[in-house]
């Protein structure tokens, strides 16, 4: 596949950039933070996104979606990374839609996908329990109970947990803590009895929650995919999210680079535009090179997800690891080259540093994915 955006994706990119710059610029996130907004995202913007088809980008056409694929989803995520737009896009339109369309029963698809496509349902993925991402480390239990299951446990750092309508929860139906076998996935409505959601305030001013399941009853229909064999499906859903996050980080890195280069062209010190200082020029040029490499591997990962999702794991891990390094470099160089101004809350560059740190940790950091890559490469 040629490593270029096709015409459709190119148009989507332009449209997304225009819309986000106008309707959901960084000022929106700043405002959500400063007003302590209860939702943590702007519902009007979300509705507009749904109208433009963003929420249905991975929903099959027979479920009311436009099914444009992962490259298209990545294009949107990348542009959101430029404006740091807060929205449940990743948890719902990317991961939720992937989970249901690839692993859902007909009934589950019919119940959720049209609502996701329409922007009417928000979904969340509850996977982690400890401080570091580790999908096979599951202590949350799902015991058989009548015709269904009873869930007990605690999930940490659930993105969009407090605004979701439904949550996909990994729980242990067999095996012990770190075993790959014995994990099952459940679709749990957020209004289920015994389910408690605590929003956490995070450094990126986005939406995360701790979710406690205290004897939550679900029916057998709530199982997504196979009982005991949920880890492979979970990994596939996570890989979609990781690729989307990588695309978002790529957008953020590009924006950091551009803002910084802009600042270098403007700011004077020692009687000179600081962009004339060769030491800064070389660092900016090195950063540019890294950002270009980041763009390439993200596109490669997204194209692989479209073409052969079952073989995408290695490329997705490489992308997430590389973008973790690139985006952090971009934020660090950005703050440093903005000097004292870069340290103030008034300038935007700090928002990027914060969000990139969270995106880096989410669904496995650079070290996690490099480790995974090395294991897949068998060394």
């Amino acid at each position: 596949m040629a490593m270029v955006l096709n015409e459709e994706a190119g148009m989507l990119k332009d449209a997304a950039r225009g819309f986000l710059a106008d309707s959901a610029p960084l000022a929106q996130l700043r405002n959500l933070r400063d007003t302590d907004n209860a939702d943590g995202f702007d519902r009007k913007t979300w509705a507009a996104m749904a109208e433009m088809g963003w929420t249905s980008v991975l929903v099959p056409e027979d479920q009311g979606g436009v099914e444009m694929g992962y490259v298209a989803a990545g294009v949107i995520a990348e542009e959101m990374g430029r404006t740091l737009t807060a929205s449940p896009f990743l948890s719902t339109a990317v991961m939720g839609a992937t989970a249901l369309s690839r692993f859902g029963s007909d009934g589950q698809k019919g119940e959720w996908l049209p609502r996701i496509a329409a922007g009417e349902a928000i979904t969340a993925i509850a996977v982690d329990e400890g401080r570091k991402h580790n999908p096979s480390s599951v202590t949350t239990t799902a015991e058989r109970s009548g015709n269904g299951f009873k869930l007990n446990g605690k999930k940490s750092f659930v993105a969009e947990g407090h605004v979701a309508d439904m949550m996909i929860v990994s729980a242990r139906t067999a095996g012990s803590e770190n075993e790959a076998e014995g994990i099952s996935l459940f679709l749990v409505p957020m209004d289920a009895a015994g389910l408690a959601v605590d929003r956490i305030k995070t450094v990126d001013s986005r939406n995360f929650a701790t979710v406690t399941l205290d004897g939550v009853d679900v029916t057998a229909d709530a199982v997504l995919g196979e009982v005991d064999g949920g880890l492979a499906a979970l990994e596939a859903v996570l890989d979609a999210g990781r690729a989307g996050l990588s695309a978002e980080m790529s957008g953020s890195a590009q924006q950091c680079l551009e803002s910084t280069v802009g600042y270098l062209k403007e700011r004077k010190q020692f009687g000179q535009i600081i962009g004339t200082f060769q030491a800064l020029q070389h660092r900016a040029a090195h950063l540019y090179s890294e950002v270009e490499l980041g763009k390439s591997i993200v596109l490669k990962a997204l194209q692989t997800l479209d073409a052969a999702p079952e073989h995408a794991a290695m490329m997705v891990s490489a992308a997430k690891a590389k973008l973790g390094q690139v985006a952090q470099l971009a934020a660090q160089e950005g703050v440093q080259m903005h000097g004292g101004m870069g340290m103030t809350d008034e300038f935007d560059i700090g928002f990027f540093m914060k969000r990139i740190r969270v995106a880096e940790a989410l669904y496995g950091d650079a070290n996690y994915h490099a480790e995974k890559f090395a294991r897949m490469r068998q060394y």
């Binding site: 401080r131 570091k132 740190r357 996690y368």
Partner: protein
């Protein structure tokens, strides 16, 4: 018994009798620090401890007694520090007056200026702020534009300072101002002392990416300063400033010295070990061990630079190496700390906030002369590379 030994006994007895029990407990938060000044009330034991120490001149043990100091020599001052550490006595007074203005006044001030200002610093009566940076003169400090006009019997000051730490709680400010707009950049600057208790001086706190901060903007609108409050010669303030900047550089560079818990120990506590006894995250472990080795080499360098200085072998620009390397190391350390604590570190506004510390370190390589400025200094002064 040697003089020093009898001095030690004397100190020990005095501390024992005079250091309140509350002042022997570790500080629990920033609020436990005593900075003096007119605007802040301190607890009874805090004030008592400050007053008693000040009465001995021991808030500034090595300053001359006539200026409120203890008149101790280096060896005696060391004994005092040791004895205070022994009983875990808190420092009675934090003060930019002691750390920065004092040394400058002792070196460049007139006898009258010393008599007027040093005792009040020693007693914590007056809290000082530093007014160096300006919004359009960051690394290029000498580009400052705050205007100081001679009005016959006084000076009139107009302009703006930025990064003035704790200015909203300070009583006086020592500032760099431009007294000659015709002269070359470094030659029209004066070092002046300004009473902040006047309508012409206002402050506004700066919020940082790491959250609330001690930094303020400070505005001068027709502020007044007495003519005798210029330190050093008029238009020669840059000399005083450079002297103080070297001080500051060493203070900030020292932050990389690893007084904090070693990164390896934190990571092990957070992430555990594998069955070989290795940190569970092998890639993070690689980064941490390299950081720790660099940290050890850095600490050895701090030690060497200090010992060389004592032996008269030091090089002037080594403070730039320490500032540069120390702050970059500290940034690396906090990045690895963030990697170690994982999602726990991403919460905001909780106690013992790793994220806020992590973000705050990003300023270390900017404040007190950016890393880029330090590299310029090393390249010019040590390596003697030519200018373009």
């Amino acid at each position: 018994m040697s003089d020093l030994e009898s001095f030690r006994e004397e100190v020990r007895d005095w501390l024992d009798a005079n250091c309140p029990a509350e002042m022997r407990r570790p500080m629990a938060s920033e609020n436990d620090a005593v900075w003096g000044g007119k605007k802040t009330k301190y607890s009874e034991p805090q004030q008592l401890w400050l007053d008693r120490m000040a009465s001995k001149g021991w808030t500034v043990p090595e300053w001359p007694t006539e200026y409120g100091g203890g008149g101790l020599d280096k060896a005696e001052a060391k004994v005092l520090r040791q004895e205070m550490q022994r009983i875990k006595a808190r420092s009675p007074l934090q003060s930019f007056g002691i750390w920065m203005l004092g040394p400058a006044l002792l070196k460049y001030g007139t006898h009258e200026q010393k008599l007027e200002h040093l005792p009040k610093i020693a007693r914590g009566e007056i809290r000082w702020a530093q007014g160096y940076s300006e919004p359009n003169a960051g690394s290029d400090l000498a580009a400052l534009m705050t205007k100081c006009e001679d009005k016959g019997d006084h000076y009139l000051i107009n302009g703006q300072k930025i990064w003035t730490s704790y200015a909203d709680q300070a009583d006086w400010i020592f500032a760099l101002v431009r007294t000659d707009f015709e002269a070359k950049k470094h030659e029209g600057i004066s070092f002046i002392l300004v009473d902040m208790d006047q309508p012409g001086v206002t402050t506004k706190p700066i919020k940082l990416i790491s959250g609330k901060s001690p930094f303020c903007e400070t505005f001068f609108d027709d502020a007044r300063a007495e003519k005798h409050n210029v330190v050093g010669e008029l238009n020669k303030g840059w000399t005083v400033a450079k002297y103080l900047l070297t001080h500051e550089r060493e203070m900030i560079g020292g932050m990389g010295s690893g007084a904090m818990r070693p990164a390896g120990d934190v990571a092990v506590q957070m992430l555990g070990k594998d069955e070989h006894g290795r940190l569970a995250d092998p890639l993070l472990r690689t980064d941490i061990v390299r950081l720790e080795i660099d940290g050890l080499a850095f600490m050895s360098t701090m030690e060497r630079v200090s010992d060389e200085a004592k032996a008269g072998q030091g090089m002037g620009a080594n403070s730039s190496v320490l500032k540069y390397y120390g702050t970059e190391l500290n940034k690396r350390r906090l990045e690895l700390m963030m990697d170690s604590v994982g999602q726990d570190g991403l919460e905001w506004g909780v106690d013992d906030d790793v994220a806020a510390n992590w973000l705050r370190t990003k300023g270390n390589s900017i404040e007190g002369g950016t890393s880029e400025v330090q590299l310029n200094i090393i390249s010019k002064r040590i390596l003697e590379l030519p200018s373009a």
